[in-house]
């Protein structure tokens, strides 16, 4: 951001006190900053500098495309018994082999991509929604509102997450919406705490007072002044949350708490669990799919952190 420095320097060097000097400074600045760049453009530049994150983003896009297009191209039904059980990979034209019921594992992984990504994304969205609402109110209003909300957050934070979500799924039935809600319900406290701390920091900054001084209402201060400035760490957390939600879903499926009519990666691993020693490929491939996707998500989250963290950004 050399243009900025030059700008202020030319102001400082101006010896005349008349407006002409400032006009010149302004014109210099105009030539140097050729066009007003959105802060998001700066962030994108920073993100692309992170090699690992860029590669991860590329693969993530590939995974998403696979999830959408894969099942349309590869038409084998993942629930169909297509061949003898435990065919090793490559045998009889089944690239990744078949499971204990003779179902095509490749088809399962392709169909499972959709489910895993969908659950991950919607659970992360839900987490962010709950976490931001609660954290924003706690950080903005302070006093007893903050006390009550933060005690509530701590209560949810100390609950054993897996156990609590198992209880929810066991109570309300293993359907995708319930599983998503269960994951959201146990993972929002982290987002709430980040949001609250950002709100506590930003609400004391001068531009918030300035906005208040120009007559802004609380709702406007919260959502249009403070929230946009609090977003970067929340976005990073959300990206990481998608990964952990996928893991969580896999964990629940592994334990059998899943919709039996829907294929997901965790469910393939879970159902083939007894044969892990005889036919290790039945759990290896879906496991790799989970590993690779979550790795990509967390590298992307890391890249976002670099791009959005003002301390790392050279202004």
């Amino acid at each position: 951001m050399n243009d900025l420095k030059n700008d202020s320097r030319s102001d400082g060097l101006a010896q005349n006190t008349d407006t002409q000097a400032d006009l010149n400074a302004g014109i210099n600045a105009e030539q140097l900053t050729t066009k007003a760049r959105h802060p998001a453009a700066d962030a994108l530049g920073m993100f692309l500098k992170n090699r690992a994150a860029t590669v991860a983003l590329f693969f993530l896009v590939l995974i998403i495309i696979t999830g959408i297009v894969g099942p349309m191209v590869y038409k084998t039904d993942p629930f169909d018994m297509v061949w003898a059980p435990f065919s090793p990979p490559g045998a009889e034209g089944f690239l990744l082999g078949t499971d204990y019921l003779g179902r095509d594992i490749l088809a399962g992984i392709l169909y499972g991509t959709r489910v895993s990504l969908l659950v991950g994304l919607s659970a992360a969205l839900m987490t962010v929604f709950i976490g931001v609402s609660i954290g924003a109110m706690a950080g903005f209003f302070r006093g007893w509102v903050e006390e009550a909300l933060m005690r509530l957050t701590e209560f949810f934070q100390v609950l054993p997450t897996l156990l609590f979500s198992m209880v929810i799924v066991a109570l309300f039935g293993p359907t995708l919406p319930i599983i998503t809600i269960a994951i959201g319900a146990v993972s929002w406290p982290a987002v709430a705490r980040i949001t609250r701390s950002e709100f506590l920091r930003i609400r004391e900054l001068e531009y918030v007072t300035a906005s208040r001084a120009s007559g802004s209402k609380n709702a406007k201060l919260m959502f249009k002044v403070i929230l946009p400035n609090a977003l970067p760490p929340i976005i990073v957390q959300a990206a990481l949350m998608v990964g952990s939600a996928i893991l969580f879903e896999a964990g629940l499926s592994f334990l059998g708490l899943t919709d039996p009519n829907i294929v997901s990666w965790g469910q393939i691993i879970g159902s083939n669990r007894p044969y892990i020693l005889d036919a290790s490929y039945t759990v290896t491939f879906p496991g790799l799919a989970i590993f690779f996707t979550v790795l990509c998500l967390s590298l992307v989250g890391d890249g976002l952190n670099d791009a959005l963290n003002p301390k790392l950004r050279q202004r």
Partner: protein, 328 residues
């Protein structure tokens, strides 16, 4: 003629760790339409608190108006509802802050921020607000305003940002503009431009200005009347010319003694620059029934540490809160 703003016996208390401190102690003054009144004093003397109290923006939960009133057009702001306060803020009374670097929202363009104020208070549509915002930016002499309006705050220099703040503050042609050390963070050359701009705009909009500063040079340049604050109390009040040529309080005299060019133009001889030794008392010492300046004063006598000085009025309307006002 009734004043536009009149503050009567205002007392503001702030909760501190050591207890309750009166950061503003029995302050009264009035402001007429279109005039410029300046508050002077060192850091921690309650200048900014006065400004925040008028805006109804005292630090939540720890600061409050304990007694007294702030009458704006006859309406007591200290008792107004939040709803009413929001109407007044930005529309009738607006404020410019000290740090232009941090008082603009970094995620919106300056045009959006100026337009936002117009949409809220003047109920302008999106397009009308934008074009008015560009006009305003032009009137605060931002070059190529139509394009600059699409810039983000970090792309502007400090002087330009303060101009944007002024544009926002004056967007609704407020009756009162409070400027809290608007040029402290800026270069001296830019300071002069900002003051020129403020004076020009004041002539156009007829706003009264409350200028808060610790710079006597600024006061001499822009204000008609001045109030000198010390440790939460008004120590001197009068027309700028009267006070600068014949200060009636040792603190004012000390402040003037610190400024080189001011002395040089006021007298033929060039006395050595002086300093006021010591520092402003801590908040826990505020509110005593004594002269709070006594520990730093060379005229200190028995009376000064025993009772708070009464305000003495001189024939030229100058007020001084000093037991030895005549002998200063």
């Amino acid at each position: 003629m009734s004043a536009l703003l009149s503050v009567e016996n205002l007392r503001i208390e702030l909760d501190t760790r050591a207890g309750v401190a009166p950061v503003i102690d029995d302050l009264s003054f009035s402001l007429n339409a279109g005039e410029t009144l300046s508050f002077v004093g060192e850091s921690g003397c309650g200048k900014s608190m006065t400004a925040l109290a008028i805006m109804g923006l005292l630090p939540e939960k720890i600061g409050r108006v304990a007694s007294g009133s702030i009458l704006f057009n006859g309406e007591d702001i200290t008792k107004a509802s939040d709803e009413r306060l929001r109407e007044i803020r930005g529309n009738d009374i607006s404020m410019i802050f000290q740090e232009p670097m941090t008082s603009l929202n970094p995620v919106f363009t300056i045009g959006e921020q100026v337009a936002e104020v117009l949409r809220r208070h003047q109920k302008l549509g999106r397009k009308a607000a934008w074009s008015t915002a560009v006009e305003l930016l032009n009137s605060v002499r931002i070059p190529d305003a139509a394009r600059r309006a699409k810039s983000y705050p970090h792309q502007l220099s400090g002087g330009q940002r303060q101009r944007v703040m002024i544009a926002m503050a004056l967007a609704c042609k407020p009756r009162i503009l409070i400027a809290d050390e608007p040029t402290t963070a800026l270069d001296v050359t830019i300071q002069a431009q900002i003051f020129d701009l403020l004076e020009d705009l004041q002539a156009q909009t007829g706003s009264a200005i409350i200028m808060i500063t610790h710079d006597m040079g600024v006061v001499a340049e822009i204000a008609e009347r001045m109030i000198v604050m010390y440790a939460g109390r008004m120590v001197e009040h009068g027309n700028v010319d009267d006070v600068l040529s014949r200060p009636r309080h040792p603190y004012t005299k000390g402040l003037i003694g610190c400024v080189p060019h001011l002395m040089a133009t006021l007298t033929d001889s060039r006395p050595e620059l002086t300093e006021i030794s010591g520092i402003v008392p801590g908040l826990n010492e505020f509110g005593q029934n004594a002269c709070l300046f006594a520990s730093r004063c060379n005229l200190v006598g028995q009376q000064c540490v025993q009772a708070r000085p009464k305000e003495k009025q001189f024939e030229n309307t100058q007020l001084s809160a000093c037991w030895h006002a005549e002998s200063v």
